[in-house]
């Protein structure tokens, strides 16, 4: 066992793995691309002030349910927080 904090993991032939898992990797990458776009748009839409789901959907040109999915996800990972209530809806805001 080496003393210094160096990788202790056995080396993996990543190239071979990438070939084997090509299909799922491509799928995941595509998914990620779309997700990153939406997240960017979402952050932008919230950059100035807190907004409700229907407001966000309007700005982003997306369905409300899809927007809610992203908002609740980013809330889970601490990027978005819940703001005050506006009528029947809550407003959401960036945490940073």
């Amino acid at each position: 066992m080496s003393e210094e904090k160096k990788s202790t993991a056995p080396t993996v032939d990543m190239k071979k793995l990438r070939q084997e898992r090509n299909e799922s990797i491509t799928g995941a990458r595509e998914k990620m691309k779309v997700q990153n776009k939406v997240i960017k748009a979402l952050k932008e839409a919230l950059s100035k002030e807190a907004k409700t789901i229907p407001e966000l959907a309007d700005i982003m040109g997306m369905q409300t349910d899809a927007v809610l999915m992203y908002v609740s996800t980013l809330k889970r990972y601490g990027i978005i927080g819940e703001g005050p209530k506006d009528g029947d809806y809550f407003k959401y805001e960036l945490t940073e």
Partner: protein
Amino acid sequence: MKVKRDLQFDAIVIGGGIAGLQSALDLGDQGYKVAVVDKDATIGGKMIRLSKVFPTLDCASCITTPKMSSAAHHENITLFTYCTLGALDREKPDQVVAQLRQEPRYVDPEKCIGCRKCEYGCPVYVEDDEQGGFNMRKAIYIPFSNAIPQLPVLDVENCSLCGKCAKVCPTDAIRYDMEPEDFTITAKTAVLATGFELSPMEQKPQYGLAKLQNVVSSMQMERLLAPHGPYNRVLRPSDGKEPDSIAYVQCAGSRDESLGIPYCSRVCCMYAIKQAMLLSGALPLADITIYYMDIRAFGKGYEQFYQNAKAMGIEFVKAKVAKITQGDNQTARLRYEDQEGNGGVMEREHDLVILSLGMVPQWDPAGICSVNCGQDGFIQSILPKIAPTVTNIDGVYTAGVAAGPKDIVDTITEAGAAAMEAANYIKGLT
């Protein structure tokens, strides 16, 4: 790396839900060495995923975690999670042999410290079934905050192999090339506690085949009500509106010959009443209606629970809902024949509709184990009145919902009964 291991125990328990855990604890406390096998990445079964539980309204986590953690730390109990059962049968009077496969988590369990840095580092989001599909997790993730063991799973189907998790892991625990590992467990006796899944929502055309907005399953509602739910409060999934009007459709997946589920699932009346009570606490202004055929509040304290719900203002409508369609403003429209009041066909719109789905067996032993199941698919007892946990295989027992729908209280006592039978089987060998 693929060492074939053969492990010896006194008892093997298949399923680490509350039934399996209770059986294991009752055997372990008697000094027997027990292996608990679960196909999931965590033990706890359905119970740990619930919000609060009837009839005491304790939070599910608060009463499941003590059992999970005492099993996990028990000197006589060993947990095998994320394992697939390939075969299980009795080979000799003192030998039940189980063929198992440890599915790869792609994380070295010896090294991982459960810090979740990988999860935060991972850039891919995936719809999270643990949260009713209402929000997303990462491609590498720990199922939920009180999962046992606290080990992440890498979901290869959604992994981009970008290497980020390996980079941030402080203990170099990520193993992208991990392979499944086969092993066997030999025990003297076995308890089958494989539990249930909800009857499928996609089954009934009249109820929209799971395609209608704001029509959700009862398990999804448990998540909406749970302390760590997807929204941390109850919102309408279509647009985040706080619902004003909520309805339960009882027997949505049970007592229905057309679904092939003629039996009563035994818990749906009570969980609907429970959820309705929790909802009226969370949303004091909302109207809550339960459409039912018979309210089956038969357990200790259950009838009183039902009467309390009535007194709280929850509306009970005796009616079989014939059809659910999309209403205006993202509501769901129920069509039902009212059996009380003036009668006749009525229609009503609700912001959120919960289908009180039934229970179907989670495990089909066909080709894996010669245990007999009834027509309904649940494991059958050969002495249903006098020894309900005894199956057709000598020294192999069943408990919990694997043996037929039941609530947690009845599951736990049945698990104790299975443990008694199993212990006495072992005693009888010597």
